[in-house]
């Protein structure tokens, strides 16, 4: 019976929410370690380069902080929707809408000081993301449309509306240069550019950090957050207890959209300084992975985003050893797979331990 204690700690009802994510990430790192070794390269050196590339210098920290802040915000977007039991696949679309609003306000209006300009842009981008996500909430509440379907469709609507029309059409920069190149939107004003701490660290990082903590507090310590969690736990019981499920669904989706919209604004104000003609998207979809790996917990999403921010920023350094730079994404994918498969792995491990899962009567006192 010696193994029972450990087994219960790992798989019993009291296991900590961080345990599965941490184990999954470690296992993913181990698998990739072996994979690199099998290709005949040096995994120890590779990992050293990767983490060094993410943390080793101020410049590296700058890149890491940017990636971390974006991943945190899109991760929060998905995690927050999860709190009411909704699967927000739409962070990408909400991010695109937020980014567009940020790019537009960045040059369309010039109050003269960053102290006014940046907050206004951030708030507007958050509102835009919130508004976009609220469409899915409205469809859900009023028409019963499944949010997975509606958010996927809204992603494509946003992407095509923005990138196939607005950015190349009405909002395209009036370029004096060649007709063939696609210019994107006009450059933002200097007052809209996100300042960098110590010259490198993107202001998005403290913003994302603050958001994660704020949402954690909301969910854990406010009555509104309690209602969100109750809906996620059982919307039927929440409704019977008098909670206004529709109103809370709007709140959750709006906050989710606001996070993604903020991520879009940070990408524009901190990196591109315009809505570029070719926008490297995908952060919204990364948010799904980040949220799941982080246990759909705001602080979990922050930790997962920090970790993947580091190895993604450092991933390019792998090329110095002729290791393909997509290994960080492989690690992320494997970690996600392991988290998603936790029911299976748990089952397998319990079988190995030779004991059936906890029965109904086992917990009776």
């Amino acid at each position: 019976m010696a193994d029972l204690g450990l087994r219960q700690k790992l798989f019993g009802p009291s296991r900590h929410w961080l345990l599965v994510p941490v184990l999954s990430v470690l296992a993913a790192l181990a698998i990739c370690f072996v994979a690199i070794w099998l290709t005949g390269k040096d995994p120890v050196q590779g990992y050293a380069k990767m983490f060094g590339g993410g943390l080793g210098s101020l410049r590296a920290l700058g890149d890491t902080s940017l990636k971390t802040s974006i991943l945190t915000l899109t991760g929060l977007s998905v995690a927050l929707a999860f709190s009411v039991g909704l699967f927000n696949i739409g962070a990408e679309g909400q991010l695109v809408v937020g980014a567009l609003v940020a790019a537009w306000l960045g040059h369309a209006f010039a109050p003269g000081t960053a102290l006014i300009h940046i907050p206004i842009i951030l708030i507007a981008a958050a509102l835009a993301g919130a508004g976009w996500a609220s469409i899915a909430a409205w469809l859900k509440v009023r028409r019963g449309v499944h949010e997975v379907i509606s958010t996927i469709m809204l992603n494509w609507i946003a992407i095509h509306l923005v990138e196939s029309w607005l950015v190349v059409g009405p909002l395209a920069a009036r370029s004096t240069q060649s007709q063939v190149s696609l210019p994107g939107t006009a450059q933002i004003e200097a007052t809209a550019e996100l300042p960098r701490l110590m010259g490198e660290i993107n202001l998005g990082l403290p913003l994302a950090l603050g958001m994660a903590v704020a949402l954690f507090v909301l969910l854990k310590w406010t009555t509104a957050g309690f209602e969100l969690r109750a809906i996620g736990a059982s919307s039927e019981a929440a409704r019977a207890s008098g909670i206004d499920v529709a109103r809370r669904t709007y709140l959750a989706m709006a906050l989710a959209g606001a996070c993604a919209g903020l991520a879009g604004a940070i990408l524009i104000l901190g990196v591109h300084r315009q809505y570029p003609a070719i926008f490297h998207g995908g952060y919204g979809f990364d948010g799904i992975a980040i949220s799941l790996i982080g246990g759909n917990h705001p602080l979990g999403a922050l930790l997962a985003a920090a970790f993947f921010g580091i190895i993604r920023a450092g991933g390019t350094k792998l090329q110095l050893l002729q290791i393909h730079r997509t290994f960080p994404e492989l690690i992320q994918g494997l970690a996600l797979l392991l988290v998603a498969a936790q029911m299976i792995t748990r089952h397998l491990l319990t079988k190995v331990a030779g004991r059936a899962p906890q029965g109904k009567e086992a917990i009776d006192a």
Partner: protein, 513 residues
């Protein structure tokens, strides 16, 4: 040769003994009932026999075969069948398809439907009961679905059948039909073991009764040589009051909740309630009796704001409540103990103290302004856990981890603690053990005596008769009339439940099988 024998079987979950040194022999052709409180180890013992658990010590033998029952597959091979409380059927498939699923008769590589149907008819006929093999499982009642499970086990060659709380979800009529089936199986030489909380049915059906308490088999008695009081004393370890009436201590007062010619639709858009009028008064229990599916579920939702009326008016202490939200109903002092504890009553993935706060989580001591008051909540949860004897007494446990009886105590504690004017209580003791049932009943009487109005909606006629000051019988969404709870005639009620007016003579033996 015994059909099933346990010899010194023990099973531990962590440090706790779920089974402690159980030895028992069950004879061939016997109907054996296993009784005990929730968590006494009945289901664990049966799961050991069915190969779902392995005992930590001791041996289990089926039909004297010297083989280890390592898995349900092995148990089936040895002739053991088990029908769980929650059926494992595929609703859109037919009865015959469900029965043969997993070991289908084939013809040219395809399912031979005709052979499957014939097989089902043959099994049913052999044991003397009816079952339409071509009906879709989703379209037949719970009692019939249970038969499908039984036939499924028999089709797989079961000689020993284990039924886990087979009557928990059945109406009295369906339960009677089940007993007939069980007697038929026994007469044909099959062995039947069933787990039950209902001592009356145990005594009338079983040959022998095993009583479990805290993992031990404390007694095995012949059903003919015992009675309900003796059994419940063995189960609990002390004398318990049965379901006895104790009439209201005071006269019923003003109407707290009234329905005036209310009609409502069910989920599929068909009329579920038709011009129903009723009144719940201060200090009385109004019980709604009826066979399941006659509008009870819709009535419960209607008086808690979860369903809107299509006509008529609902008033709470004179205030117009028609069209109001569930929150407004709660604020008007109407509390709800729903039938579906796990879906509607609790948030299973949340903590016990959070569940105790649910619905009043915006008010002190559960909140301070917009913030949750964690320590206030813990304190109140602690006192409720003590008062309602919720076990284990740990507010940070997830509601999911509690047994059914303790989950119900959490809901009851929360709803009563909200100091409502009216308590709407639906099926409050379904699936609970005797100890918990008497606790719930005592508490409901106390709340009534404290002046609350109680609307009790129950399918259990014994419960209705034990608690009600007045009984309204619901049939087809209409009131069949009201009778006083005092001296109510069970037979007359039974007729009303089947849609005959109380004055009509009995057509035949309706309730007795």
């Amino acid at each position: 040769m015994p059909a099933l024998s346990f010899s010194h079987v023990s099973k531990f979950f962590g440090p706790m003994a779920a089974l402690a040194d159980v030895s028992l022999e069950i004879e061939r052709g016997e109907i054996f009932a296993l009784v005990g409180e929730n968590g006494a180890g009945k289901t664990t013992l049966m799961n050991v026999a069915y190969g779902l658990y392995r005992p930590d010590s001791g041996t289990v033998r089926v039909f004297d075969r010297d083989e280890v029952i390592g898995s349900p597959g092995k148990a089936i091979e040895l002739g053991v069948g088990m029908v769980h409380q929650h059926f494992m059927l595929v609703p859109p498939l037919t009865v015959a398809e469900n029965v043969v699923l997993g070991s289908e008769p084939r013809r040219f590589g395809m399912l031979d439907r005709q052979a499957a149907c014939d097989k089902v008819r043959e099994v049913a006929a052999r044991f003397g009961f009816e079952l339409d093999p071509t009906a879709k499982v989703e379209q037949i009642g719970v009692g019939m679905q249970q038969r499908v499970e039984i036939v499924k086990a028999l089709y797989r060659g079961a000689e020993l059948l284990i039924l886990d709380e087979p009557t928990a979800n059945l109406t009295p009529q369906e339960a009677d039909d089940l007993y007939r089936v069980v007697r038929g199986l026994s007469a044909a030489g099959k062995t039947v073991i069933f787990i039950s909380h209902k001592l009356r049915e145990v005594l009338s059906v079983a040959h022998r009764v095993g009583v479990m308490r805290r993992g031990r088999l404390v007694a095995t008695v012949r059903a003919a040589e015992t009675n309900a009081a003796a059994l419940s004393e063995l189960m609990v370890g002390r004398a318990v009051a049965g379901m006895t009436r104790s009439p209201s201590a005071r006269k019923a007062g003003a109407a707290l909740l009234s329905l005036d010619k209310v009609s409502a639709l069910n989920d599929r858009g068909f009329p579920a309630l038709r011009e129903l009028s009723l009144e719940v008064r201060e200090g009385e229990i109004l019980a709604i009796a009826g066979v399941d599916g006659n509008g009870q579920a819709e009535l419960a939702e209607l008086v808690t704001g979860l369903r809107q009326a299509t006509a008529g008016a609902i008033r709470a202490a004179g205030d117009e409540m028609t069209g109001q939200s569930p929150r407004a109903f709660r604020e008007a002092g109407i509390a709800h103990v729903p039938a579906d504890r796990q879906q509607r009553g609790l948030c299973l993935p949340m903590r016990v103290d959070e569940n105790l706060a649910l619905g009043r989580h915006r008010k002190p001591p559960f909140a301070r302004g917009a913030l949750i008051d964690g320590s206030g909540r813990l304190e109140r949860a602690g006192s409720l856990i003590k008062e309602f004897d919720i076990r284990p007494p740990e507010p940070s446990l997830l509601a999911r981890a509690l047994s059914g009886g303790n989950q119900q105590k959490v809901i009851l504690a929360r709803e009563i603690d909200s100091a409502p004017k009216v308590l709407v209580v639906v099926q409050p003791t379904r699936g609970l053990d005797i100890g918990a049932i008497s606790l719930v009943h005592d508490r409901l009487r106390r709340e009534r005596d404290a002046g609350r109005g109680i609307l009790l909606i129950s399918l259990d006629l014994d419960e209705v008769l034990a608690l009600a000051d007045r009984i309204l019988v619901l049939y087809g969404g209409r009131s069949m009339g009201e009778v006083s709870g005092e001296g109510a005639d069970e037979k007359a009620l039974g007729r009303m439940m089947l849609g005959q007016s109380s004055s009509e003579p009995a057509r035949s033996e309706v309730a007795n099988g």
